[in-house]
Structures are given as structure tokens and as C-alpha cells.
């Protein structure tokens, strides 16, 4: 049995302007000890997916309208708040993008770490403090015991994210959800934090969901990748398969749009920009959501009439497109080159 199974999850926001279909039929599963990368651009629904798993979506305006989040056989969407609190922070922990705003500036670092431990483990204050020092040590904060009584403003961005990681690990969770954990950090600090996450994930035998807009970060950290666009999964595969044989025109375009750090003729070349912008999720296209920006979409065919199903093109490789790379004829490809 998979550790986590998300089935046809739909999280909608009911706003005055209309219903925003932020997450619209997302399914994936995650095995114990594995890392899943969810990648996509802003507004694609990747963070709302994570918050829905954690039961942290703001209600109202948001609501899980259908679907299930099955964690170790229990559907988290049906749990009462109190039961959910036993899972959250304990069995599933989460770290967020902005370590600057996630820590309470008026509480000492130590207080914030021991809070979680005491809520879930029911240990004494002294015991929780001892554990907090161990944790700070483990996330490589120098002089951990001495820094426990500091306030967050004494910590740099990289160190704060380490504190967040320490707090997330405090109860030995089975699943860690990291939502853009390194986006606010400098590139050298990002590398350290990613290395640390990988090392701890192995030590603790955790599964991890890493949510990011950065194709480089998933290439580094993930075993499997889900690509999201406009609230839906458009492609899913193992990391090597996805980068070796991207099938969805969006995945392909996203990879083409990335400037490269290695190679020749980079200065002279142009990037393959994706024209237009993602659709309004209040009124998404009834047909393929990527259709309006897709170089292969054709007025005559299904692209403008129906939203393609997510289908298994090869074992383990799912794609939601009428024009995956491997099914494209030469003529299509020629047409698309401007």
C-alpha cells in the first residue's frame, strides 16, 4: 500500500468573482521513503494541493469539493479537526517557502521547537528542550544549545529554514511536504539546504513531496515528478524518464524556456518562450487547458473540443495531451517551428 494516495482531488475557492478551480482533479500516489516533485508555475495549484493534503486550506473561501487524500489507509479529508491535528506536525510535517514569516518573531527559537514536541509526544519540558538541541545540531546550527534562546531575528534566512526543518522533523514524520523550501534562499545556501534535506530524509526514512517552480531542483531531489498546469496534472513520470523523454508540449516548452548554465552558443541563442499566459481558473477553457498556448493545437481537432484525459503512454508515464512528443508526426513538428 502506498503511503499517500491522492485521488481526483478538487479544491475550489468560492469568491465573489466566481469559483476558482485551483486544484481540479489531481491524482498521484507516493511510496514510503520516496521523493515526489511537484513542479509548475505560479497559480498552477501546486501549493493548494499541498495545503489540501495537510488540511490547511483557508475555509472559507476554499473547500475540497471532491476527492480523497488517503494517508496510511485513512482519508484525511473526512477527519475531524482534532484528529487531523494528531496527524499534522506528527506524521505529516510541512516546511514553507518563506522562513522569514513562518517563525513567530516574539517567541524564542527553543519555545517554537519544543511546542510541537510537547503537543504530540507529551514529554516534559526538559526532555523537549534536550530534543530541540539535538534537532538543531542535526540541521547543522553551530552552537545549538547556546542559540536555543535566541529570537528568530538573530538567525539568517538559511538558518531559519534549518530551524523550520528541525521543527518539521521533531516528531519523526513519515511524510515531509516542502513547499518551495529554497526559493527565498541564495543559490549556495539552497544547495546546502537541499543536501541537508536529502541526508535527513534518508536518516529518518521519510517520504517527501517537494513543491517547486525550479526544474533544476526537482532534477536534483525527486524520484518521480508531477508537472501541473492550470490546476491539473499534465504529465507524470520518473525523473529520468521525464527529462529524457518529456511528452507534454508544456513540459517540453518549460524545459526549452530555461536558460542553460552549461553549453555553447548560449549568448547568441534565443529561449523558447511560451506565448500568452495561463488561463483564468474561474473560466478555464472547457477543452485542453494548455490548448491556447500549445504550438501543436489545431482548430480542427480535439484540442478545442475536449479536455484530454490523463493517459498512460508508457508504463509509469502519464500525459494529458492530444499531441505528446512520441505521437507527433513530422508535419506537426515542422508546423510548430516558427
Amino acid at each position: 500500500m502506498a503511503l499517500l494516495e491522492v485521488n481526483d482531488l478538487r479544491t475550489h475557492f468560492f469568491t465573489r468573482e466566481g469559483v476558482v478551480q485551483a486544484v481540479d482533479g489531481v491524482s498521484f500516489s507516493l511510496e514510503r521513503g520516496k521523493t515526489l516533485g511537484i513542479v509548475g508555475e505560479s497559480g498552477c495549484g501546486k501549493s493548494v494541493t499541498a495545503l489540501s493534503i495537510m488540511g490547511l486550506i483557508p475555509r472559507p473561501p476554499a473547500r475540497i469539493v471532491s476527492g480523497s487524500v488517503v494517508f496510511e489507509g485513512r482519508d484525511l479529508t473526512t477527519l475531524r479537526e482534532h484528529d487531523l491535528e494528531d496527524v499534522r506536525g506528527n506524521e505529516i510535517a510541512m516546511i514553507f517557502q518563506d522562513p522569514m514569516t513562518c517563525l513567530n518573531p516574539t517567541l524564542r527559537i527553543g519555545t517554537q521547537i519544543t511546542e510541537t514536541i510537547r503537543r504530540h509526544k507529551g514529554v516534559s519540558k526538559a526532555e523537549a528542550r534536550k530534543r530541540a538541541v539535538e534537532l538543531l545540531d542535526e540541521v547543522q546550527i553551530p552552537n545549538a544549545a547556546g542559540r536555543l534562546d535566541d529570537y528568530p531575528h538573530r538567525y539568517s534566512g538559511g538558518m531559519r529554514q534549518r530551524v523550520m526543518i528541525a521543527m518539521a522533523l521533531s516528531c519523526n514524520p513519515k511524510l515531509l511536504i516542502a513547499d518551495e523550501p529554497t526559493t527565498a534562499l541564495d543559490v549556495t545556501v539552497q544547495a546546502q539546504v537541499l543536501d541537508l534535506l536529502e541526508q535527513l530524509r534518508q536518516e529518518y526514512g521519510m517520504a517527501m513531496i517537494i513543491i517547486t517552480h525550479d526544474m533544476g531542483v526537482v532534477a536534483e531531489a525527486a524520484d518521480d515528478i508531477v508537472v501541473m498546469y492550470a490546476g491539473q496534472v499534465v504529465e507524470q513520470a520518473s525523473v529520468l524518464e521525464l527529462f529524457d523523454h518529456p511528452e507534454h508540449p508544456y513540459t517540453e516548452a518549460l524545459l526549452g524556456a530555461l536558460p542553460q548554465i552549461e553549453g555553447e552558443g548560449i549568448r547568441e541563442g534565443r529561449l523558447t518562450a511560451i506565448p500568452g499566459r495561463p488561463p483564468d481558473l474561474i473560466r478555464p477553457p472547457t477543452a485542453c487547458r494548455f490548448g491556447p498556448r500549445c504550438p501543436y493545437a489545431d482548430d480542427e481537432d480535439r484540442c478545442t473540443k475536449e479536455n484530454p484525459e490523463l493517459r498512460e503512454l508508457r508504463p509509469g508515464h502519464l500525459v494529458r495531451s492530444a499531441h505528446p512528443t512520441s505521437e507527433r508526426s513530422r508535419a506537426d513538428t515542422r508546423m510548430a517551428v516558427p
Binding site: A219, I261, E262, R267, G269, T272, I274
Partner: protein
């Protein structure tokens, strides 16, 4: 033009900020050397990429060149004139040739001005053309940057980040400048939109012979844009050279560490790079801020 033929020559530029303490009686207790002896030239028509991590002093360097911050010492020569000694009026006139595109297209456009007024403002300030001529110029500029000229009466909030950045670029182009300082122009944008803006900046450089100082923290973005690259760390220029050489054969440990830390969208290469960056980190523990 200066003696060595460069459009812009920066020599031994310093910018120090005082650190003050005390509630009632403030006194200066120390200084932060945000820019600490930076020198470089940019020949006309070229792009110099200025790359570094947060706090390295790259944006401060840009502001000091534009005299938006007054340098503590050093020289900034542009079109053969020393900018650091210019009067306010002379500098105002000089700004026709020297423009900037800011990082955050959400904060750098006045929300109470229409798109047309924003792009026309530099023309008004420098009393160029009459009302009608300016309106035509604004439409042309917006067209050039790929923004629908029929939207001149709308307000910035109606547009996405990418579209707003196009407005910011049109404003920078309005006076037909020689040099544009691009300060993190795409870091607030999604990848697919980022590519549109980078391509636009490349096209404009080709069509108008622009010279760029391109400031960014993203090493891949800088490489895509730059002929030469300068790496900054803690206010100092660590390394400067042709883009190809700096990236394929970095000389300084800091540059090596910086480059090795970038995640690349290739899982196989990533394995090798991870090993490399672990090796380098040991050698560099003290140079890097945690």
C-alpha cells in the same frame, strides 16, 4: 567616450553605509562596505552581467552608477564625462542616456498613473515633443516591447507581471538611452514569461544597439544575456571575464562554488554536480555566508 573606448568605465568604486547606534544620541559605530573597490568597463553595444548573491553589492553598484546613490569614492565615467561630480541639473540631462529597469514590476509602476502616462513621463520630464507627438511615441514604444498600444488608458494593476515589465522596459526606452541598467529584471517572473522578457531584451539590444549592465542572482539568466560577466561577493569583484571563460573555466574558488551550487535541469548531470559541490564546500566554508 573615455580613452579606452568604453561607454562606461567604473574605477575603484566604493559605497559605505554608516551603522548607527543609540536611541537619542546617534553615533556611527561602524560601516558596511556594500561596494568595496569595484572597477570595470562596458564597451558600447555589449552586455556586462553582474552576478552575486544577496548582499553582494551588485544592486548598490548599479545605483551608484546611475547616481541614485552617491558613491563614497571612486569614478564613474560615462560618455567621457565623470558622473560623480555632476550637478543635479547636469545629471538630470545625462539620465536621457542612462536608464534603469527595476526588479519588481509590481512596485516600480505608479498604480495611479495610466500605462500611457507612465511611459510618457520621461518625455514630459525632459520636455520632448508636444502632447500629440508624445502620444504617438508612447504607442510606438509599447508596440516595440510587445504590449498592446490600445491599452494606454488602463492602469498597471490590470496587467500580469510580464506585461508590467514590458511597460517598465518601454519607459526605460522612451528617451532612446545608450545604456540600460537591468536590475534583476526577470526574477519576479515565471519561467515561461521570463523567457519572453529575456528574448525581448536581446531583440532590443540588437535593434537599437543598446548597452546593458545586467544585474541578476540567477547564473543561468546572466549567462544567457551577457558577453562578459563580473562576479561579486561581499562588495568586491571576485572575477571578471568573457562569459564562456568564467563559466567553463572559473579561476576563483568563490565562482566555482557559486556555479557548482546551481541545480541544472538534468538528473544525470546533477549527480556529478552534487559531488563536485560537496568537494568545493569543504574548501570554502569560510567564504560563504550561512
Amino acid at each position: 567616450m573615455s580613452s579606452n573606448g568604453a561607454l562606461l568605465s567604473v574605477t575603484d568604486l566604493h559605497k559605505h553605509f554608516p551603522v548607527r547606534e543609540g536611541l537619542l544620541i546617534e553615533r556611527t559605530v561602524s560601516e558596511v562596505k556594500a561596494v568595496d573597490g569595484v572597477s570595470f568597463d562596458i564597451p558600447e553595444g555589449e552586455t556586462l552581467g553582474l552576478v552575486g548573491e544577496s548582499g553582494s553589492g551588485k544592486s548598490t553598484t548599479g545605483y551608484c552608477i546611475l547616481q541614485l546613490l552617491k558613491p563614497t569614492s571612486g569614478s564613474v565615467r560615462f560618455l567621457g564625462e565623470e558622473l560623480t561630480g555632476l550637478s543635479r541639473e547636469a545629471m538630470r540631462r545625462m539620465r536621457r542616456e542612462l536608464q534603469i529597469v527595476f526588479q519588481d514590476p509590481y512596485a516600480s509602476l505608479d498604480p495611479r498613473m495610466t500605462v500611457g502616462d507612465i511611459v510618457a513621463e520621461p518625455l514630459v520630464v525632459h520636455s520632448i515633443g508636444d502632447r500629440r507627438r508624445r502620444r504617438d511615441t508612447v504607442r510606438e514604444l509599447l508596440d516595440v516591447v510587445g504590449f498592446n498600444p490600445n491599452f494606454t488608458n488602463r492602469y498597471p494593476h490590470e496587467f500580469s507581471g510580464g506585461q508590467r515589465q514590458r511597460i517598465g522596459i518601454a519607459r526605460a526606452l522612451a528617451l532612446n538611452p545608450k545604456l540600460i541598467v537591468c536590475d534583476e529584471p526577470v526574477s519576479a517572473l515565471d519561467v515561461s514569461i521570463q523567457a519572453q522578457i529575456l528574448n525581448l531584451l536581446k531583440d532590443l539590444q540588437r535593434d537599437f544597439g543598446l548597452t546593458y549592465l545586467f544585474i541578476a542572482h540567477d547564473l543561468a539568466v546572466v549567462r544567457a544575456m551577457s558577453d562578459r560577466i563580473a562576479v561579486m561577493n561581499r562588495g568586491k569583484l571576485v572575477e571578471i571575464g568573457l562569459a564562456e571563460e568564467v563559466y567553463t573555466n572559473p579561476q576563483e574558488d568563490y565562482t566555482k562554488a557559486l556555479l557548482s551550487a546551481v541545480p541544472v535541469p538534468d538528473p544525470r548531470r546533477m549527480k556529478e554536480r552534487k559531488a563536485e559541490r560537496r568537494r568545493l564546500r569543504g574548501a570554502l566554508a569560510d567564504t560563504l555566508a550561512t
